[in-house]
């Protein structure tokens, strides 16, 4: 007989979400029904460590998640009609999002963080990450990784938690993302094994610095934010040691405030990876929801590369 798993933090989260946004009341139940105990354990642990019982902080993050989700859903409706992302330069997106402290802290980072548990395609990608990439880091002799475009610190935290001597470094163009990540990692007790640097790796490749190569590279949901993803991938390739492994993920037909580069299929991403000098070892694609007709649906694709 299975032992029931108590999830008081998830219960408080669900009640707050239903109060703040009644139209999202079913979100938690859907994730629980789909992923079961594995999801309950991961999300309960996250809520307890990240918020530490501070329900007011959790309420603010929920509001951020609701805004993040609705903003994205509204842009997706527009994308369904026009089949292109709203025209925006990288500089405009950076000013609106990455260099906007209030936006990062109240909407963007909480939205990214919580969507990894509440959006089925993102939780599926997390499971794939833990099945196919994290064990390689855990079992390696050299357990150093670099994450480029750290966002909320979600994937850095995953890797830092797989073994007590994993060490991580991050490059990001957003000081606010680096600060948010540091606070995130502090709450999980892994902050001292991580460092972050403000750097645009296209304009200033780290290979030009001492210790500019790593055995493991992570870059999740960065390519779609760029005007020239191949240039970014070439820089990433130079950061990967010979024989190293990278986890690179991005979105397909998924609109958002700062999404600039449109991928219509996972093959387009694969071709850019190969063009940058990577060899693709494996990949997984996940879908946000089944299309109702022939509308484009948000998808994500993750690749293991060397």
């Amino acid at each position: 007989m299975k032992t029931p798993f108590a999830t008081p933090a998830i219960g408080r989260f669900e009640a707050t979400l239903a109060r703040v946004a009644p139209f999202m009341a079913g979100t938690v139940a859907k994730a629980r029904a789909r992923f079961g105990r594995e999801w309950e354990e991961a999300f309960e642990d996250f809520l307890n460590r990240f918020f530490g019982g501070d329900d007011a902080a959790m309420g603010l993050a929920i509001k951020g998640y609701v805004g993040f989700s609705l903003e994205m859903a509204k842009l997706q409706k527009r994308f369904e009609r026009e089949r292109v992302y709203a025209a925006k330069t990288y500089a405009e997106a950076a000013a609106q999002v990455y260099h906007n402290e209030a936006y990062v802290n109240t909407l963007y980072a909480p939205g990214i963080l919580l969507s990894h548990y509440l959006w089925p395609h993102y939780f599926n990608q997390l499971r794939w990450f833990h099945a196919h990439f994290a064990p390689l880091v855990r079992e390696a002799a050299d357990r150093r990784f670099c994450e480029v475009g750290v966002g909320s610190g979600f994937y850095s935290r995953q890797l830092l938690s797989v073994a007590p001597d994993v060490r991580g470094h991050a490059f990001d163009i957003s000081a606010h993302s680096l600060d948010y990540t540091a606070r995130h990692l502090e709450r999980f007790g892994v902050r001292e094994r991580w460092s972050g640097t403000l750097r645009n790796v296209i304009a200033a490749p780290p290979i030009d610095s001492p210790d500019g190569q790593w055995p493991f590279i992570v870059s999740a949901d960065v390519l779609e934010h760029l005007e020239d993803p191949p240039a970014f991938l070439r820089s990433l390739r130079r950061m990967l040691q010979a024989g190293g492994i990278g986890f690179i993920a991005t979105v397909i037909t998924s609109a958002n405030t700062d999404h600039i580069y449109l991928y219509n299929s996972w093959e387009e991403i694969r071709d850019q990876l190969v063009g940058a000098g990577f060899r693709v070892l494996d990949h997984q694609e996940d879908i946000a929801y089944e299309p109702r007709a022939d509308e484009p649906v948000p998808r994500i694709a993750a690749f293991l590369v060397t």
Partner: protein, 81 residues
């Protein structure tokens, strides 16, 4: 501005010709008012009234009354109980 127009949008989005809206009506009371249809509702209202909802206005529209208040703030007054 007529309440009928807003009610008609609700009936179209939720495919319920008997739906009667009032200020306190929330997603708890309407079958199918999930996040997907919340966006359909917002977009339909934007198209019908020629307005744009900010993110905080979309997120804060937990009840019909909130939607009506947003429209009023944009110069569209709808009398509703």
């Amino acid at each position: 501005m007529s309440l009928d127009r807003l009610q008609s949008i609700f009936r179209d989005v939720f495919r319920d010709d008997t739906l009667v809206i009032h200020r306190d009506l929330t997603a708890k009371d309407v079958k199918g008012w999930d996040s997907f249809n919340h966006i359909n509702l917002i977009v339909a209202i934007e198209d019908a009234y020629g307005v744009t909802f900010r993110t905080d206005e979309m997120a804060g529209a937990a009840a019909v009354g909130n939607l009506v208040d947003v429209l009023r703030s944009k110069g569209i007054a709808i009398a509703i109980d």
